[in-house]
């Protein structure tokens, strides 16, 4: 009997796999399993539109009807205890089992937790799921002073939301710069300056000693220099770790995520991993990466569906990311590992510009601030392996468009 495909995790990637399998003509059973109880929904708005407006519900990825029409069986709110590779089945916490011919692990990542004295006080929040964001939205209504620990995308998106709602916000970042790992220092410096203009305190190169509370609830963040920042509420955004425990326990290789080959298969030919949890060899970067993005999850879902129906190929989509932060639209194309030259276009001091990252003459990545046209062209340039010269960049968007035949 055909067991079909079981997908663990119903984020952007996991939810897409079943639909892509049907598009590829797969006709067997498909089960989509998630420990979250909700119909799969968009995660990016949780730090923005959803957080800002109490009347907003989460934005579902697809109507329930779409799963039924595609004959995708939903198993929501079900916790999985183990993957039994011998039996080719997953085992739920309640003892039930579900057999598979092919298993796709799309379990995503979890927010890293603060390891400081006071980490267990009430009033500490993070943003990952609907439930996280709902709790934060409720708690922030009565908060005047908010501290955001970690100057990465999620923390800063929440910061922009808090500021728009009139909260006093302080961002505390241990590294010398916000967005240090994510974008060019030119972009980071711009974002930092824009936030300061809005009256947000941005404390970089700043360590935290402990969180201090009163009656079990956070009241202040004590910095390494001994000073205190008042806090009615603290949001922790210090990165994420891959949810690879199920794979690890099943004996699959894990190293900063589940190790897969270029077709997204693990060493077990019946098991695949995609999205935030997958550590895969990236063709263009020439190294292994684990990417946390909607684009990566969705495109790997489409790719793994092809692999499963017998059309294996190397995954080689150009990565892209975005982060909407108040009035700033940050858009990133490609990966800048190994870049040794950075060219900024757009007049200095302008609120819209792009930074082109090169290794020698080869274009690796482009970061844009409020330049969506640059970003769209950059995706095409990088995908096609076209590297504009400095003269091309100086000539402007029309020249760059002409390089991709427009």
């Amino acid at each position: 009997m055909q067991r079909g495909v079981v997908i663990i995790g119903a984020g952007h990637g996991g939810s897409q796999v079943g639909f892509s399998l049907r598009q590829e003509g797969y006709d067997g059973p498909i089960h989509l399993v998630s420990d979250e109880p909700d119909l799969p929904y968009h995660k990016p708005p949780l730090s923005k539109a959803y957080l800002k407006d109490q009347s907003q519900d989460v934005q579902i990825l697809r109507a329930e009807k779409a799963y039924a029409d595609a004959r995708i069986e939903l198993a929501l709110g079900r916790k999985i205890e183990a993957i039994d590779r011998q039996a080719q089945a997953i085992r739920f916490a309640d003892g039930a089992t579900l057999p598979y011919d092919r298993l796709v692990i799309a379990t995503g990542a979890s927010n890293r937790k603060l390891a400081l004295p006071g980490h267990d006080l009430a009033g500490l929040h993070s943003i990952r799921t609907r439930s996280d964001a709902a709790h934060l939205r409720e708690a922030m209504q009565t908060a005047g002073d908010i501290v955001v620990i970690g100057g990465g995308f999620i923390g800063l998106e929440a910061t922009a939301t808090f500021a728009a709602l009139g909260k006093r916000v302080t961002v505390i970042e241990l590294a010398p710069s916000i967005l240090g790992r994510a974008v060019s220092h030119l972009v980071a410096a711009h974002v930092d300056a824009e936030y300061r203009k809005l009256g947000i305190r941005v404390l970089t190169a700043t360590g935290i000693e402990r969180l201090e509370g009163e009656a079990g609830k956070v009241k202040a963040v004590r910095l390494s220099d001994g000073s205190a920042v008042p806090a009615d509420l603290v949001v922790v955004g210090i990165g994420a770790a891959p949810n690879d425990a199920l794979a690890r326990d099943a004996g699959l290789a894990c190293d900063n995520g589940i190790v897969v080959d270029a077709t997204l298969a693990t060493a077990d030919p019946t098991i695949f991993a995609i999205g935030d949890v997958a550590n895969f060899p990236h063709a263009q970067a020439g190294r292994r990466v684990r990417l946390e993005s909607v684009q990566n999850a969705s495109d790997q879902a489409k790719h793994v569906a092809k692999t499963i129906v017998g059309k294996p190929d190397d995954y080689r989509e150009t990565p892209w990311f975005w982060s909407d932060q108040g009035h700033m639209k940050l858009q990133m194309a490609g990966l800048s590992f190994g870049a040794d030259r950075h060219v900024r276009t757009g007049a200095l001091g302008e609120p819209a510009f792009s930074v082109y990252h090169y290794a020698g003459d080869r274009l690796l990545a482009v970061d844009s601030v409020n330049r969506p046209g640059d970003h769209m062209v950059a995706r095409r340039l990088i995908a096609a392996g076209i590297s504009p010269s400095d003269a091309d960049l100086a000539e402007g968007p029309d020249r760059l468009k002409s390089l991709i035949g427009r």
């Binding site: 952007h12 968009h42 990016p44 708005p45 934005q59 579902i60 990825l61 697809r62 109507a63 329930e64 009807k65 779409a66 029409d69 909607v294 684009q295 969705s298 892209w320 975005w322 909407d324 639209k329 858009q331 969506p372 046209g373 769209m376 062209v377 995706r379 095409r380 991709i404 427009r406």
Partner: protein, 105 residues
């Protein structure tokens, strides 16, 4: 209550009651219209909510801004003169009766 009609790629017509203020993409995904994906959630990044309007409907809406035009030009396949990204079309009483066709993949 206003309505919008989606014509799916196989010709199926789907009439959807609109929640005021939502986008064409949100209405389509909420109703499960085949071919309206909205992968990026409405950030004008992915062009998976690409639709064709009628010429009359296209003319009566505000024109696409530069960001949408770039996304259409560089990300969408099979762009036509009346192409729009559903996530950038806000629905209201004024858009009642809109008829859109899901773009070819």
């Amino acid at each position: 209550m206003s309505q919008v009609t989606f014509i799916e790629r196989d010709g199926t017509r789907r009439i959807v009651e609109v929640v005021n203020g939502e986008s064409l993409m949100q209405a389509g995904t909420r109703a499960g219209v085949d071919g309206i994906i909205g992968e990026c959630g409405g950030s004008c990044m992915c062009a998976t909510c690409h639709v064709y309007l009628t010429e009359d409907d296209f003319a009566r809406l505000d024109p696409p801004d530069a960001m949408e035009q770039d996304a259409l030009e560089f990300t969408a396949s099979n762009q036509r003169p009346t192409s729009r990204l559903g996530c950038q079309v806000k629905l209201s009483a004024a858009t009642d009766g809109l008829t859109v066709t899901v773009a070819e993949a």
